[in-house]
């Protein structure tokens, strides 16, 4: 069932058009990867879907309601966004960071209800942060801090989870772990997950659907097999890549240049 839908959305930063008439729908239980070269408008599309940037034309509907007409606090109960910044100089504990996910639901003076406490506990449990809950976030490693902000987004108990390059500062092992977790959470909580990903192989392996953007337009939208073919990869990312067939999940590798080739 479609939860979040953009219809013919055009968006701009000042006079510069970044998205041209993009239409896109997100349903619960699926993990969608947005891929494309730098400057294609991936993050902009995500910001439009999160209601952080108003489209200049077209509409974004959340469960049939116009996103632009909803207050931030209403949006925050239905769409969670995992931030790209997760460093802070302040000694918040992991538990306090996760509890930030409840901001939109807290009572006057920030009082937490039993529901709030339960949601925080559940998110901490799902990301296996129990042992770190009392630790200061500014003392954790990058991977641990990222798990904490992911738990913060889960504590929002939304139907939609948006992520902008969630693997960008992680080593390959942690990249895999993060995406596996997202996929599993998407299934378990029936979340609609949409992530901007730079790594085509991660997108191909973990996404149920891939949306390819180029020059602010959606050029392809479908399963990894539908989207990642040789023609699309060449037109969108250039000649330097080759597509390797893999059961339903094509791989994309750099071509080895003549000069480097050994034999």
């Amino acid at each position: 069932m479609t939860i979040l839908a953009a219809t013919a959305v055009t968006a701009a930063y000042g006079p510069r058009l970044v998205l041209h008439e993009c239409s896109f729908a997100l349903a619960s239980g699926e993990v969608v990867a947005i891929v494309g070269p730098n400057g294609a408008g991936k993050s902009t599309l995500l910001r439009v879907l999160a209601g952080l940037l108003r489209p200049t034309a077209g509409r974004v509907l959340l469960d049939g309601e116009d996103l632009a007409a909803l207050s931030r606090s209403k949006v925050a109960r239905r769409i969670a966004v995992v931030p790209q910044i997760f460093d802070t100089l302040f000694p918040f504990t992991v538990r306090e960071v996760v509890a930030l996910g409840r901001t939109a639901r807290l009572g006057a003076f920030g009082r937490a209800s039993p529901d709030d406490v339960a949601a925080v506990d559940r998110a901490i449990g799902e990301l296996e942060l129990e042992a770190l809950a009392g630790r200061r976030i500014d003392r954790l490693s990058g991977g641990e801090r990222q798990r904490a902000v992911l738990a913060m987004a889960l504590a929002q108990e939304t139907a939609v989870l948006l992520l902008d390059e969630p693997t960008v500062h992680l080593d390959p092992g942690h990249q895999l772990a993060t995406l596996e977790l997202l996929r599993e959470l998407g299934q378990r909580r029936q979340l609609a997950v949409c992530a901007v990903l730079h790594d085509l192989n991660l997108a191909s392996t973990f996404a149920s659907r891939i949306v390819a953007l180029a020059d602010g337009r959606i050029v392809r939208d479908g399963t990894p097999l539908d989207v990642l073919d040789a023609e699309l990869v060449r037109t969108v990312f250039g000649d330097g890549l080759e597509v390797v067939a893999r059961d339903g999940h094509p791989g994309v590798l750099p071509r080895v240049p003549q000069a480097v080739r050994r034999l």
Binding site: P83, L89, F90, L100
Partner: protein, 329 residues
């Protein structure tokens, strides 16, 4: 929770004890029983010293310290910057400039604190905008904006001091103010300031949990459900109320707003719901003690209060700058 209540209780007791010390100790030695008698209405010299000099001075110092530390906690949270406070960001300088301009224009005395509030509001909004220019708010842009605004305000104040006849008549008072101090405070002045500080503190307490949401930037605050424009405006307004009142009472007192919330975070945690009341109590205590030092260290002469806070605060600020440079610039 128990720990928070415990810490707040200790801070409150410390404030009461230092206030008592501030009233008992002074250039003229007055015994505790005479102080007690004077508080409740004996009409001799002691009564005048205690009721018209020491008591308003101690209360003034407490208000100024509490207001500056609370404003510092709010600004640091909003800017995600442990090096922000009304003084360093130039907010106090802006308030001073507006207050001096009000005196030059010959506005009535009650309008001077209002001018200070407006000056603080304009400057702190400017700092916020400048800090956002580069995308995220970074530690150094805020400091640079503060340096620029402080020197600009300082230059205009100097210009006004030299060119205005009206100001020349009060040169000593204005200079004392620029050095920071709570030496001459009247009861009506104190009453108005207390109301304004209470208002600012009230806003700070109500907004505290929303300021937490700024920990990962303004955009994340928005996705967590905070209306960023409204919240930012209200927080800046509360900061301006607090810094404006502090400047109207005591002029330029530096670093209290920076040191107190920063140090407290490591004791009571970063959550603003706890940090804001703790900052108010600790800031009030710190300034009551600093003022006690200012009037006793070289008694019967007095040190400017701003000199004491600068002496302690500046090295602390440098240490923080070195530490934070290693993490985020």
């Amino acid at each position: 929770m128990m720990r928070t209540v415990g810490i707040l209780t200790v801070l409150a007791v410390a404030l009461v004890v230092s206030a008592a010390a501030g009233i008992l100790v002074g250039a003229v030695a007055i015994g505790p029983s005479d102080v007690f008698a004077a508080l409740f209405g004996s009409n001799d010299v002691n009564g005048t010293i205690i009721r018209e000099l020491r008591l308003p001075r101690v209360l003034g110092a407490a208000l100024v310290g509490g207001a500056l530390a609370t404003a510092g906690a709010l600004l640091q949270g909003l800017l995600r910057n442990p090096l922000a406070d009304p003084f360093v960001t130039g907010t106090s300088a802006g308030a001073t400039l507006a207050a001096v301009a009000a005196i030059v224009l010959g506005l009535a005395a009650p309008l001077v604190p209002i001018a200070a509030f407006v000056g603080a509001l304009v400057t702190v909004t400017l700092v916020w905008r400048l800090a956002r220019l580069g995308g995220g708010t970074t530690v150094l842009t805020v400091l640079l904006a503060g340096v620029v605004l402080t020197s600009f305000a300082g230059a205009v104040v100097t210009f006004l001091l030299i060119s205005s006849d009206r100001l020349a008549l009060q040169l000593r008072a204005v200079l004392g103010w620029l050095q920071g101090g709570v030496s001459v405070i009247s009861w009506p002045e104190l009453g108005v300031a207390a109301l304004v500080v209470a208002l600012g503190l009230g806003f700070a307490v109500v907004l505290a949990h929303r300021v937490d949401a700024y920990a990962f930037g303004e955009e994340t605050a928005a996705t967590l459900g905070v209306d960023p424009d409204r919240t930012t405006t209200t927080v800046l307004g509360a900061t301006a109320l607090l810094s404006g009142a502090a400047v109207a009472l005591a002029g330029l007192v530096g670093f209290v707003g920076l040191v107190i919330p920063h140090a407290l975070r490591f004791v009571i945690g970063a959550t603003h719901r706890r940090l804001v009341p703790a900052s108010f109590l600790a800031g009030a205590t710190a300034l009551v003690l600093a003022d006690l030092g200012a009037r006793t260290i070289i008694a019967p002469a007095e040190l400017p209060l701003g000199a004491i806070t600068g002496l302690i605060g500046a090295p602390f600020f440098l240490a923080l700058l070195v530490r934070s440079r290693r993490v985020v610039v």
